[in-house]
Structure formats: structure tokens, C-alpha cells
Symmetry: C2
Subunit: 304 residues, 2 copies
């Protein structure tokens, strides 16, 4: 089974304290690395956890609050300095381009690799990366400024061949790909061997959804249905729900309810307010409604 895991680089909200860092995650899909948000310090966190930044080819930025993107110019500049040549695709709100251009202009930086910018759509969901192996969709969240979540869907996976049967029937190699696609094998004598008997069905495709930052809203729920792993911000505990609404954030109870309602298999909390040194209460609160909740912990990988 190919790898599909997310590494937490930062789990703090806007004022980083207690050694926590602003938001950033690395998604490893089959040894392709995707960076989701890039708060201040991300390049140092990547180094700390042994991630080779040059292996990241796609970066997704949810919105333009500093704690979600201020590490970007540093990371892009360092990629330049270490001699990166591969294209780098960047997805984020349109004004991000202007911000980067202005900073590169005044630092007299001309990147030696191609930075390909894809503005995200703040008003409707869009398929922004479409490969047979993985599809990425951006969708609007509801925050103080334009903000999108991202959903990563694994492509349909191939069936596995039953090696014993293949060997016994001496099926020619040329047929194997067809079998995996569900096409039956017809022997020279006309006997039909159903593909379903010569293969085991593929494991179900997996999916990951990332929601930060947002107030609770029915608008984004359809886009995060039935994921294997849901990352959902939980800036506050529910006794602060008024403050959460006022600042367009969510509580850990609400995050648990979203996971439950939308059929997530597992929930990951994060984007913790600086008011919480101990995070266990947030975890317990979410578990009252959705037991398979975990705290996002910096430096820890979570399976999708």
C-alpha cells in the first residue's frame, strides 16, 4: 500500500507560544511531498524533522493571515540558494503573488527555478490538481478574510493479481494490465476466466481534508464528506464559542461534531489558541462527541 501520511510542523494559532509553531503540514503521498500552509519557521521545522525541502513540488496556502504563510518567502529563497531547479507549484489567494513579487523585488532575488502560481478560488470549490494518482480540491471556508480548505483524494487504485492463479493458468504478461482493470481473460480455447476471480479488489481510495481557519458553517461541509482523516481547526474550547464565532474560528466540540456529521474516520485537532498550555481538555471535549479524535502534535506523522 502506498504511503499517505501527514506530518505536523506547526499546531499553533497566531501567537506561537510554549514552543509551538504556526500552521504548516507536510503530506507525503507515495513519496511525493505536498506542503499545506507555511507559517513562520516552516523551513527550520522541515530541517528539524528531516524533510528535504527540495522534494516538495506543491505548496498550498489557505489564506493570508501571517500564521499561515509568513514562512513562504524564506522557504522559497532558501530553495533558490540551495540550487533548486525543479518547478514549484504554489496555490493560494491571488494577492499572494503580489506579496511575493514585492519582497523578491526588494531583496533583488531572481529565483533560479520556476515558481508557478495558481490563484485559488475563494467563492467556489475547484479541482486544482488532477492526476490519476491524486486529486486536490480547494473549497471555500468561512473566515475573516478569503480562505480555502484543501481536500486530497487518492485516485482509483488497481486491483492486485492473484499470483498463484496467474502462474497456474500461464496467463501471458500482456494480459495482466487488462486483468487489473477488470477485463476478463479469454484463453486460446475460448474459456473465460473472470477478472474478479484472478484478482483481489483494490483497497478503497483514501482521502484527507484540511480545514483551517473557519467558523462553523454548513457551506464547506459537503466538501469534506467521508474522508479518512479530517484536520479541523479547534482554536478554542466550547466555553469560548462566542469568541470563536466573533473571530471566525471553531471550538473543539464543534470540530468533533463536524467529524461525526460528515462521516470522517478520524479527526485531528489543531490551531490551538495561546491561552491553552495544556491541550488535553480540547481533546477530551472533542471525544465527547467523536471518539476517534487526536491532537495534532508537532513532529508526529498521522496516517490518512
Amino acid at each position: 500500500m502506498s504511503r499517505f501520511e501527514v506530518l505536523i510542523l506547526g499546531n499553533s494559532s497566531a501567537t506561537p507560544m510554549y514552543g509551538r509553531h504556526p500552521t504548516s503540514q507536510v503530506l507525503n503521498f507515495n513519496e511525493q511531498l505536498f506542503l499545506i500552509d507555511c507559517g513562520e519557521g516552516t523551513q527550520m521545522q522541515l530541517f528539524r524533522y528531516g524533510i528535504r525541502s527540495t522534494k516538495i513540488n506543491h505548496i498550498f496556502i489557505s489564506h493570508l493571515h501571517g500564521d499561515h504563510y509568513l514562512g513562504l518567502v524564506g522557504l522559497l529563497s532558501s530553495q533558490h540558494l540551495v540550487g533548486r531547479q525543479a518547478d514549484l507549484h504554489l496555490y493560494g489567494p491571488a494577492p499572494l503573488k503580489e506579496i511575493l513579487d514585492l519582497q523578491f523585488k526588494h531583496s533583488d532575488t531572481r529565483l533560479r527555478y520556476a515558481l508557478i502560481f495558481h490563484p485559488t478560488n475563494e467563492s467556489q470549490a475547484e479541482l486544482i490538481l488532477d492526476t490519476p494518482m491524486l486529486r486536490v480540491t480547494s473549497f471555500p471556508l468561512r473566515h475573516r478574510i478569503a480562505c480555502t480548505g484543501f481536500r486530497f483524494d487518492e485516485g482509483k487504485r488497481a486491483a492486485s493479481l492473484k499470483a498463484d492463479a496467474i502462474e497456474r493458468l500461464q496467463i501471458p504478461t500482456a494480459y495482466l494490465k487488462l486483468l487489473k482493470k477488470g477485463i476478463d481473460y479469454v484463453a486460446k480455447d475460448g474459456t473465460v476466466f473472470p477478472a474478479s476471480e484472478l484478482t483481489t479488489p483494490p483497497p478503497p481510495a483514501r482521502s484527507y481534508a484540511y480545514c483551517s481557519d473557519t467558523v462553523l458553517s454548513p457551506d464547506y461541509l459537503p466538501y469534506i464528506a467521508d474522508v479518512d482523516l479530517l484536520y479541523h481547526e479547534s482554536t478554542f474550547m466550547h466555553d469560548m464559542v462566542d469568541r470563536a464565532k466573533e473571530t471566525f474560528h471553531t471550538t473543539s466540540l464543534e470540530a468533533g461534531e463536524v467529524a461525526k456529521t460528515m462521516g470522517a474516520k478520524k479527526l485531528l485537532l489543531g490551531h490551538y489558541s495561546a491561552r491553552y498550555k495544556d491541550l488535553q481538555p480540547l481533546l477530551q471535549e472533542s471525544r465527547t462527541v467523536f471518539s476517534n479524535t487526536e491532537l495534532s502534535e508537532e513532529g508526529k506523522w498521522f496516517l490518512v
Copy 2:
């Protein structure tokens, strides 16, 4: 004696590695805090070393390479979020204002405190902060883009009174301030008591100079003469002097020579290239010409 010390928050050049951070320092002058450069991660470093960011009222930015200022928006935003109300003075290259304004605009941030921006002069030295206790001068360095160093000069200090003599002669309190200023005391019977006999001379005023980033050049040397502590970048060792010149940086040997020539009492190296994991060779090289050299070490305070 009032406190005059510098804390190293980051000693790395542009690609931070081995747990090092980009450039930033805190100068504590008599419990007033001054921030010099603000590389990515500075707010987390301040937290790590127990510095209360709200006590910083002046920030000095040398130039607009990311490793010297990318922590600024995060720090300024966090100051806003924690409810800072005191004015904050920012000194740096003119385009810095435009960069900050653009980022605050797109994050919809309206600072709740006054950020007072003072553009630095890239072509000549200027007295940028002038108080009786401390004067700060910016002066041009020679780098790929406009860059200034900063010099901090303690004001003339008052003489100390000789308590025994004051007591014995029953000198009225009103005269004590005059004595400290060197004005003789004339008793009612006309006897003159020279101030020099009733006081001990003030300790010499101290000074700190900060030079990062720059190629070796005679142009800036006059501005760093005779300082107690000189911070001078030493990105490379001297076998890389060609590379240093090409990238407008300095070697540790050159830093040592500058300190020696300009009469510094002590030299602090920094802004180390990512090629050096072990920094001892840079220290040894500088010490061949200037023995009182030290490595700037993150988290360590150095007396001016």
C-alpha cells in the same frame, strides 16, 4: 553600572540549518530593549529565551534580505494580538514600509498600537535615535542591496559622589547634581571644594557596533572605531574570500582584522554560512589576528 548587553537570537546566514536561526539580536540597555534585525522565527526565539516582546520599543532592520526581516510581520501582528498599546519605532530601508502595508492590507490587520516608521539612509551615516542616555547611528554597509549597520553609544555618564566626603562636609542636597556635573562646591565661608575631589570620575561610556551584511570596505570603518563590542558578520572562512567578495560578505579573518584595525575591545562573529556545521575553525581563524574574538551563540548574552 547600568546594564548593556546583547542577546543572540539567530546567528545563521540565509539558509538556516543545524538548529540555527536567521539573524536577530536583542540589546538590553538599562532594561530598555532594542531589537536588531528580525529574521524568520524571531518571535519564537524571544519566547524561548524569556524576553517579553512588549518591552521592545525600537526595532532596527539592516536590509531587506529575508534572513534579516522575515520575522517582522509575525512579531508586529503578535504584538497587536496580545494587546500592545505602546508606540513601536521601526528603523529600516524605505521599501520596508510598503512591504508591511501590503501584508497588513491583505490580512486585514489594523494595528492597535502606533507603528512609527523611520526610513534609514543608505548613502550616509545618520543619528537616528538621540537621547541623553543612548545615541544610535545608522551607517552604510556595502552589500548587494542597500544595507546599514548600527552603532549604539551610551551617553556621557555622571560621576559618582564620594559619600564619606559629602557627609563630612555636610554638602546640601541641592548641590549634589552640580557636583556630578563637575561644578565645584563653594561653602558659605567661600572655601572652594573642587568637584574632582568630591567625586570619582564616571566610567567611560560604552558602545556597540553591528555590521551585517557587508563586504570588507574602508567606507564603513570610521563608524565603528573604538567600540567596546563589535558584532561583525563572518559568513565564510578566508579560503572562501573570493566567494565572500562575490556575494558581498566577509570572512572570519577579515572580521578579526577589522576589529584589530578599528580598536574594538571585543569581537563577536556571526551570520555563519550553512557550509559550516562546526564553527570553531572560524573562531580560530579570527583569533590569529584578534585574540578577543567570540562566536555569537544563540541564547547567550554578551556584555558590551
